[in-house]
């Protein structure tokens, strides 16, 4: 089983669009992504019980990498780990990567069958590549 991915966002529309973007870079490939976004009424917010359910659903035995947006999404994701089984919990990585960059990078390597640690590392590289690009080179000084 490929490593599962979970997208946690305050906004369902944002999460769905991020997943669509990730699927777009993997034409024809199956991608296991669960979304936990919005509060219990569908408004902006996060729900740790929904995140726990998404993590459990995304775990096919090789673990899960969770990408999240800002603020309370992080607190909710951590709280969700208290609500899943201990066996699942030890296979979950909460990624500090930025949501979009992290998800696209993670999706590519997860679809290729990489292990959880590699998927998590690739998610983080999304930010590093962007920082490197913008911190030097001809474009940085307008040239």
């Amino acid at each position: 089983m490929p490593v599962g991915l979970v997208v946690v966002s305050h906004s369902r529309a944002l999460a769905d669009a991020a997943v669509e973007l990730a699927r777009g870079v993997l034409p024809g490939r199956d991608l296991a992504v669960e979304v936990a976004a919005g509060d219990v009424d569908g408004g902006p917010g996060t729900d740790a019980t929904a995140i726990a359910a998404a993590v459990t659903a995304a775990d096919g035995g090789d673990g899960v990498v969770v990408l999240m947006d800002l603020g309370s999404a992080v607190l909710a994701a951590e709280t969700a780990l208290e609500l899943v089984g201990a066996d699942v919990r030890e296979r979950v990585v909460l990624s500090p990567a930025p949501l979009v960059e992290g998800l696209v990078g993670a999706a590519v390597v997860a679809a290729a069958g990489a292990a959880r640690a590699q998927v998590a590392a690739e998610a983080l590289r999304g930010l590093a590549a962007k920082q490197q690009h913008l911190s030097g080179g001809p474009a940085a000084d307008g040239g």
């Binding site: 408004g43 902006p44 917010g45 996060t46 729900d47 740790a48 309370s72 607190l75 909710a76 609500l83």
Partner: protein
């Protein structure tokens, strides 16, 4: 003296719910000053849902009551308050061992420690910890000194209210209010205000027990 049993804990939650509902607009007003103006509404919704859940699934032990409240708040409050208050009740449930003042103090302390860990915050950050922390200290101190739970919770409620008021001049270092930097000073923290209500509710609902 009757024990702090499931009925007593449920009464605490109902009193907290009543106070939150009564203070809903004030909590939201405080949140509008330094946050996103939803604290009163969110907590009102969540605590009402917790009372409904307790009505639908009455529990006969106090820890189960706390767990039901935790899960309901986590699911329904939204924002940072859901995970934070949820963690408080979840950890309190896990630590509750007994039905006297000492057990209550230990459970509240475990809940407080859970909020510290979840939020990576400390006292002085202008958060709910600024009310809960002094309340824990007062509660622990009074229980250790052999005072009744009623007296101990009275002292805790006073400490929580003082802690809440003391957040006004602080600069927020956690959560959305921290985006404001120095401009967050001059306003009482809404999380500290609701946490003070939680302690005040315990003092009222658990009086005569433990």
């Amino acid at each position: 003296m009757s024990a702090v049993d499931a009925a007593a804990v449920a009464a605490w939650v109902r009193e907290f719910t009543r106070l939150v509902h009564e203070q809903r607009d004030e909590l939201t007003r405080l949140d509008a000053a330094i946050g996103d103006a939803d604290h009163g509404t969110n907590l009102d919704r969540g605590t009402a849902a917790a009372v409904a859940a307790l009505g639908a699934r009455p529990a006969d032990d106090a820890a189960a009551v706390l767990t039901t409240v935790a899960m309901t708040l986590i699911k329904t409050v939204g924002g940072a308050s859901g995970p934070l208050y949820g963690t408080f009740f979840l950890r309190a449930a896990g630590a509750l061992d007994g039905d006297d003042g000492r057990a209550v103090a230990a459970a509240v302390r475990a809940g407080y420690d859970g909020v510290v860990a979840r939020g990576r915050a400390e006292r002085g950050d202008k958060t709910m910890l600024d009310a809960l922390g002094p309340a824990c200290d007062a509660l622990d101190g009074a229980v250790a000194a052999g005072r009744s739970l009623e007296e101990a919770l009275g002292a805790a409620a006073e400490a929580a209210a003082a802690g809440r008021d003391a957040t006004a001049p602080l600069v927020a270092r956690k959560g959305r209010a921290s985006y404001l930097g120095e401009r967050s000073a001059g306003h009482v923290d809404p999380g500290a205000a609701s946490a003070a209500l939680l302690v005040q509710a315990a003092a009222t609902a658990l009086a005569g027990r433990g």
